[in-house]
Symmetry: none
Subunit: 123 residues, 4 copies
DNA sequence: GTGGTCTAGACCACT
DNA sequence: GTGGTCTAGACCACA
C-alpha cells in the first residue's frame, strides 16, 4: 500500500497529484527500479478515486518513461533512474517558471515572492 | 491602450491572464483608483479575443472588488486599494501553496525549492 | 430647483429614479398640474447626470401621461391628477408583485417578508 | 428533475431566476447539503436554455458559496447551510431596500406600503 | 457610446 | 460522463 495522500480541494487534478507523489516516492527510494506498483484497480480502491484518474496517472507516467505498463503482468518502476531525476527537475522548473511569470504579471517583486514562500514554510 | 500581452500557449485561461495583468497594473500604479479601464469592446478588439472573454475577466475582477462596472458608463478601478492588496495576495498564496504541495509530493525539500527559485531569478 | 436626490449605486436606473421622484412630487402636490418642470438641460446639470438619462425619464413620463412635452415651450405637469393616482398605484403594485414572486421563489414566507420589511423601516 | 420553471417575460435574467429557485429549493430542504444537482447539460436541456446560461447560474451560486462545482464529478449543494441563509437574506434585503426607496420616491408612506403588501397576500 | 444577457456551438480537461 | 473555456454573433438596457 503506497503512502500516498490526496487533497481534492487544492485545484490540482487528482491524476497529477498521483503522478507527483509516485515520482517523489521513486526519488526518495521508497519505490525502487523494477519494483511493482499497485494495480490500477487497487490504486483506485485504496485512494477512493475514479479508476479513470488512476489510468490517466499511470498512462502519463508511462509516457514520461517513469514506469512501464506490462499488459497482463502489472506496472513497474522504470529502470532509468537518470531519466527520473531529469524529469523530476524539469517538472519543478516548469512550475517555478510558470509561477514566476504569473507573480510578476501580478506585480510582485522577486523579494516579495521569496518572502511569502519562506513564511509559508514556517507554518 | 493597456500594456497587456496574452500568451495563449501557457494553458492559463485568457480571462485569468487579463485579471492578473490588471491586478498587476493597479499594484504598480500604472492604473490608479477611479481611473477608467478600456471598454469591453475595446479590450476585446485590442487583444483580439471574443467580447465574452473580456466580460468574464471584468466580471470576475468585479466580484473580487478590484474594479466596478457601471452600466452605460464604463469600467473603473475600485477606490478601495485595500481590497486589491488582499485579492492579489490571495492569488499568490494559493499558487504558492499549490506549488509547495506539488514540490513536496515530488520529494523536493524546502531548501531545494528555494535554491531552484533563486537560481532561476538570476537568469 | 427640484428637491430630488439620486442614489446611483442601488442598482435602480437613474432615469427610473427620476421618474419615481417626479411622480412622488406630484402626488404630494409639491408639483401641481400645469406647473412647469425644469428643462432637460437644467435637470441634467442640476443632477450631474448624462442628458440622455433626463431625456429618457421625461420621455417615459410623457408616455405614461404624467407630463407633457411641448416642443419649444417646455415641460409641464399633466392636467390629469386622476391618471397619476392610478399610475402611481400601478407602479407600486407591480413592483410589489414582482418582489413577492421573487421572495417566494427564494422560499421566504409572507411572514418573513413582512418582518424583514418592518425591521428595515425602523433603521 | 428539478421543479424549476422559468418566466422569460418578467425581465429577470434567466440565470437569476435559476439562482433564486435553487436557493429556494435548498431553503425548503427539497435539496439537501451534499446532494447532487443536475449537470449543466441536463439543466440546459430541461429548461431549453443555452448551456452558457446554466454555467452562469451555477457559477454565480458557487461564488456565493451556495453550491460547489467539482470538475469532472458534478455539482453539489454546499455543506454550509449558514452561507445559504446569509446569501438568501442578502438578496431579499437588497430587493426590499430598492423597493422601499422607490416607494418613498413615489411618495408612499410606510403604512401604505405595508397595507398594499398585506392586501396583496390575501388574494 | 457603455455594460448585460443570451444563443449555438466547439473544443479541452478531469473523473 | 462531468465541468471549464472560448468563439461569433445578436439583441437589450442604460447614460
Amino acid at each position: 500500500m503506497l503512502p500516498l495522500q490526496l487533497n481534492p480541494r487544492l485545484g490540482i487534478p487528482i491524476y497529477r497529484q498521483i503522478m507527483d507523489a509516485i515520482r517523489g516516492l521513486i526519488a526518495s527510494e521508497a519505490l525502487k527500479p523494477g519494483e511493482r506498483l499497485p494495480s490500477l484497480r487497487e490504486l483506485a480502491t485504496q485512494l477512493r478515486i475514479n479508476p479513470s484518474s488512476a489510468v490517466k496517472a499511470y498512462s502519463e507516467l508511462q509516457h514520461a518513461g517513469v514506469i512501464s505498463l506490462d499488459h497482463g503482468r502489472g506496472t513497474f518502476v522504470s529502470e532509468k533512474p537518470g531519466l527520473l531525476a531529469q524529469s523530476r527537475k524539469k517538472v519543478l522548473d516548469q512550475d517555478l517558471r510558470a509561477l514566476l511569470l504569473k507573480a510578476k504579471n501580478l506585480g510582485f517583486s522577486s523579494k516579495e515572492i521569496l518572502r511569502a514562500l519562506t513564511e509559508m514554510e514556517k507554518e
